[in-house]
């Protein structure tokens, strides 16, 4: 069976024909997915505001900026390894993105059990990430005395940027974990196969919801790529 979308023009002529066509510009994707993309774009604007304020704040302060690889170093068996905790957190979040991509694949194939299992794995990785971030915050606040208005390692702005940016990102991860758990439960129960209505929306849902969830989760990972580069490595 050939689908109607395969008959549309592709590439740049597809772009113009899509935008000049009737009813909807974004062919082949549902309104839910289009709205998640628009949300991601607006969220990216917020994070880019943080990035700009951090980079300009860091570049224009006259006090020396603390060396992140020392501040975030960990002692392992008596030797200090720079940025160890952050590296582990990075690898865990990337792994959660990998399991999420596989969950989305099984969602496409309507494979109920494997989809739910990989969603659960993703949620576990996300929870581990938030846990390690909580550990990092505790270490900085209570043992090293870093706060939004104080920083023993150098420039005071370091504290406020750090807690604002990683806090906002950590909130995204936490919200994502909660939704992943809800989605894993719905998938495992077979809501997308039986057409059971959602508690809040009272609407029937589809495995498409997994794909939309996946977009959000990959975006959270994407933001961490930028935070890792600009905040921890720069």
């Amino acid at each position: 069976m050939s689908r109607a979308i395969d008959k549309l023009p592709k590439g740049w002529s597809g772009l113009t024909s899509d935008f000049s066509s009737d009813q909807k510009a974004f062919k082949g994707i549902s309104w839910g997915k289009a709205m998640m993309w628009i949300f991601i774009l607006s969220d990216a604007f917020i994070f880019s505001c943080f990035l700009i304020s951090y980079l300009t704040g860091r570049a224009s302060t006259t006090a020396p900026w603390p060396d992140a690889s020392i501040v975030f170093g960990l002692e392992v068996f008596g030797t200090s390894v720079p940025l160890l905790l952050i590296a582990i957190m990075t690898f865990i979040l990337i792994s959660s993105s990998g399991t999420m991509a596989i969950a989305v694949k099984y969602g496409y194939e309507k494979n109920r059990k494997l989809c739910a299992i990989f969603l659960l794995l993703t949620a576990l990785c996300g929870a581990a990430f938030v846990g390690m971030q909580a550990f990092e915050w505790t270490k900085l606040i209570f043992h090293e005395g870093v706060s939004p208005w104080n920083n023993p390692f150098g420039a005071v702005q370091f504290g406020s940027f750090f807690f604002m940016i990683t806090g906002f990102h950590g909130t995204h991860v936490t919200v994502g974990v909660i939704f992943l758990l809800i989605m894993a439960r719905k998938t495992w129960r077979g809501d997308f196969d039986t057409g059971r209505r959602g508690y809040f929306t009272t609407m029937k849902s589809d495995y498409l919801a997994i794909e939309i969830m996946g977009l959000y989760w990959h975006f959270v990972d994407l933001v961490w790529v930028f935070i890792f580069a600009f905040f921890y490595l720069w």
């Binding site: 590439g11 899509d18 993309w37 700009i52 570049a59 990337i94 993105s97 990959h218 790529v225 490595l233």
Partner: protein, 110 residues
């Protein structure tokens, strides 16, 4: 969303996701090595940005399936993001002027 019911969807083999997962690990390891081996100056910054953009591109293109979407949504998403990065670059360039002004007035006393 009714049109998505009972639709045969072409899916990708699991291998492509595992490959991208592996590549993301490799790039992250490399960018960690940039810090571990204490690269300095523009070599450090170039490498960090290079690995960062490679990782971002892989995530957006493959994991978020943007590579397989139609140009309409791809262009609507990627142009604003490009402009955003440009804006970041402009503001960072501006901050050096702020630093010079501060050094001039705070330290040299005007």
């Amino acid at each position: 969303m009714a049109q998505y019911k009972n639709k045969k969807v072409k899916t990708h083999k699991i291998g492509i996701y595992l490959w991208i997962w592996g590549l993301l690990f490799v790039f992250s390891f490399f960018s960690y090595m940039v810090d571990y081996l204490n690269f300095e100056g523009s070599l450090r910054w170039t490498l960090i940005v290079l690995f960062m953009l490679s990782k971002a591109a892989l995530i957006v293109a493959v994991f978020m399936h943007l590579f397989w979407e139609r140009y309409a949504i791809v262009n609507v998403l990627l142009w604003p993001m490009t402009l955003m990065l440009l804006f970041v670059w402009i503001m960072v360039a501006e901050s050096e002027y702020t630093l010079l002004t501060r050094l001039f007035y705070f330290i040299l006393g005007g």
